[in-house]
Subunit: 153 residues, 2 copies
DNA sequence: TTGGCTGCAAAACTTTTGCAGCAAT
DNA sequence: ATTGCTGCAAAAGTTTTGCAGCCAA
């Protein structure tokens, strides 16, 4: 199974991004359309700083503070998730809120998405059968650490 | 199954902590014995700041910078792991490097350990059978989000 | 119109770094 | 005696906050 194939997504149009924001109850300002669009365009779970650089060309006056505030409101609205990373100083964001797992590449620091409904079901059923006495699980995600393999052509 | 029962560990003696450090090829200074001992005593995957507070009573002159440097060297030596958290500004540390999973309580922000060799094997076998084309997994850990249940007495 | 959002900038907070002296081996 | 570690303090980096003005609804 190819990992890269799993994270393939098409860049959404500004109109679609506006729609996402409006549906979430947020104002579709020019800045937020760019920020959310930029996050969607960057596949590798970028930091706020990286999103800021991504949109800098299109909106040179857009401030980093606004990026932070916007990303925060996206998270609250459920449009975006924060990704848990042990290394690295800055938080990283994921525009994909559907259930999926993460592959952490120790070589490139990339975070690749890994979607596998069959695995989800397996874990889900195991946890349900196992049962916790004093913990009620809501969701789970698997953090897989390893290395990308570069195959010779 | 009880969650709290899973994370029960006995506080090690200073002599044992010294031994851990020496075996890892690190100098067993008074500060490091306190820092590693403090981390082992704090069950809830504390921040560097929390470890510093923990040892402050016994060593008032021990500086926060030393705690950071010590924790770093512990991580490099493999004595300690950094825990991946999406929320919260500071990194959190785990003195337990044996394979285990984490339960994140959304109510109390606690991080509980969850050890389950049966689950490990299940996932391990699934991933081996599934196979990745261009990713070589080394290890994995399950992040389970949910809430602690407080049962009436 | 108006309430949320932006930009700017300061502040708070976390983590890293440099270096002289000290202590564990 | 060496060499790594400590303490102090400054610096770097990340994130939050306050506020006046602006803009999407």
């Amino acid at each position: 199974m190819s990992v890269s194939a799993l994270s393939a997504t098409s860049s959404p149009t500004p109109a679609h991004v506006r729609d996402l924001l409006t549906r979430a109850g947020l104002r579709a300002t020019q800045q937020r359309v760019l920020i959310l669009g930029g996050l969607l365009a960057l596949r590798d779970h970028p930091t706020a700083e990286q999103v800021h650089r991504q949109v800098a060309a299109e909106a040179p006056t857009l401030s980093l503070g606004t990026v932070y505030k916007a990303l925060d409101s996206f998270v609250v609205a459920g449009l975006v998730k924060r990704v848990a990373v042990a290394d690295g100083a800055a938080r990283r964001y994921d525009a994909d809120c559907s259930p999926h797992h993460h592959l952490f590449c120790t070589a490139t620091q990339e975070i690749l998405d890994y979607r596998d409904p069959q695995l989800d079901q397996l874990i889900q059923e195991f946890l349900a059968a196992r049962g916790f006495e004093n913990f009620q699980p809501h969701s789970f995600s698997l953090h897989i650490t390893g290395e990308k393999i570069i195959r010779p052509a």
